[in-house]
């Protein structure tokens, strides 16, 4: 028997914050060969049941943060990360891993990374389209990723890829099992699909 065939599927939870298109992320996770769980609310049993949590976010910073707080995700996510479990934040889902954003200065982020989001300093916003990643990581280096954002983290010691639009900003960050992607892996063609497979292993 091939051991690969008997390997249990990775259990991946995708957090439904009711902010835009969730179907693409769900499709990408399923296509990566993972067992998909769509979650509206946290519960303690998820800590044992799931291997990876993916948090997509679109729209405003305060809206996403408000959804996180309203459904009781804040404490659960902090506990999840304290346990060394894997968390993947995408787009605004990456931004809320930081302390705050100039988009909505009163909203308090999760604070898992230090720093605040700032408005992109390019005259045309939102940034919409594909840009080539400047990265030292083999999984990211020179790949083209799809971006849609007006705000971003300009600098972070845990940046794994950078892109320039006006100024340089962090296209992705990683510290241990905590991942953030400012671009949309689920919309970034075959590269993005491969990346989702990589982080959901």
């Amino acid at each position: 028997m091939n051991a690969e065939l008997n390997k249990p599927k990775t259990q991946v939870g995708v957090i439904d914050l009711n902010s835009g298109n969730l179907l693409s992320m769900q499709t990408a996770i399923t296509a990566a060969g993972c067992e998909l769980h769509t979650l509206q609310q946290p519960r303690a049993s998820l800590l044992k049941q799931l291997d990876v949590l993916v948090m997509p976010g679109q729209g405003r910073f305060a809206y996403v943060m408000n959804q996180i707080d309203r459904h009781g995700w804040r404490d659960f996510l902090l506990e999840w990360v304290r346990n060394g479990k894997r968390l993947v934040g995408v787009c605004v889902g990456m931004q809320v891993l930081f302390e705050g954003s100039d988009e909505d200065p009163e909203a308090v982020g999760l604070g898992l990374f230090q720093g605040r989001c700032q408005r992109l300093s390019h005259p045309k916003t939102p940034m919409v389209g594909w840009a080539q990643l400047d990265s030292y990581k083999l999984t990211l280096k020179d790949q083209f990723a799809y971006f849609v954002n007006s705000f971003a983290i300009k600098a972070c010691p845990f940046a794994t890829a950078k892109v320039t639009y006006g100024d340089a900003f962090c296209a992705s960050v990683q510290r241990g099992n905590l991942y953030g992607f400012q671009f949309h892996p689920e919309k970034s063609g075959f590269f993005g699909r491969g990346l989702m497979q990589h982080v959901c292993q």
Binding site: S24, T27, G59, D134, Y146, V148, T164, Y165, G192
Partner: protein, 262 residues
């Protein structure tokens, strides 16, 4: 902005976007917004263009208001679950509930034309709830015989009494993230995009512009990008197989334009 240059302050690439006009679940192509020709199955064509390197797709369900909305939603769901690049959908969107249904079915952006004119506050509502990046306003503009620029709705069949410049400014102020600018006097003619219109647009408005109407070959795409287009859209020349998306992109790369390689 898209010419390769070490001192550039943008890594963004210019996008090539095949447009699929859909009627009754099939892709169709009209000439000057009239007579429709059958061009194939939407999901098959979408996957073909993705393979060829399309950066994004736009589906305009130009008969949505005639054959009801469910067929359009089913198509959007099928496309979303078979595609790994972004796509926009337009046609038959009457209110925020319709927008929600399209996003729920897997669309990344919606395109408004008639409703943007008839109910412009819908632009604000969409921008507030889903963000500016999720809304494209399709502006159909025609160069009239007297030299003026006129705005049309209802698939290019009805002229409306708004000033071209004021209209785009209003759309931008209301929170639209991108303008799909179709020069009706160029559409289906194969005489190239309207580069004067594009150059003026870039000077006036701080949003992305997708050039549409008139592409015959690779040189037209290059000219549009040089004139200031952020993205270029074409339909017939791809559907008829005259050029692949890959051939257009290769030509642009060879002419020093920043393009996503696949």
């Amino acid at each position: 902005m898209y010419v390769n240059d070490d001192s550039s302050n943008s890594d963004l690439t210019a996008r090539v976007i095949p447009c699929l006009d859909v009627a009754h679940g099939r892709v169709v192509k009209g000439t000057n917004f009239k007579q429709l020709l059958d061009m194939g199955d939407p999901v098959e064509l979408a996957q073909l263009y993705e393979q060829q390197g399309a950066d994004e797709l736009i589906f305009l369900d130009i008969k949505a208001s005639v054959d009801g909305q469910q067929s359009a939603l089913d198509m959007v769901y099928q496309v979303s679950t078979h595609l790994s690049i972004p796509f926009a959908v337009g046609g038959g969107i009457k209110n925020l509930d319709d927008v929600h249904r399209f996003f729920h079915a897997g669309a990344d952006k919606v395109t408004l034309n008639t409703m943007a004119v008839e109910q412009p506050e819908l632009i604000n509502q969409i921008a507030t709830q889903y963000g500016s990046q999720s809304i494209v306003v399709a502006v159909d503009v025609n160069h009239e015989a007297d030299g003026s620029l006129a705005i049309y709705t209802h698939g290019g069949s009805r002229r409306v009494a708004v000033n071209y410049h004021d209209w785009i400014q209003q759309v931008v102020d209301r929170g639209c993230g991108e303008i799909l600018l179709t020069a009706m006097h160029k559409d289906g003619t194969g005489s190239g995009f309207d580069t004067d219109l594009l150059a003026q647009f870039g000077a006036d408005f701080p949003v992305q512009v997708i050039a549409s109407g008139g592409a015959k070959g690779p040189q037209d795409f290059l000219n549009a990008i040089h004139a200031g287009a952020d993205a270029v859209l074409a339909a017939g020349l791809f559907h008829r197989g005259e050029y692949t998306v890959g051939e257009i992109k290769e030509f642009l790369i060879n002419n020093n334009i920043k393009i996503r390689k696949t």
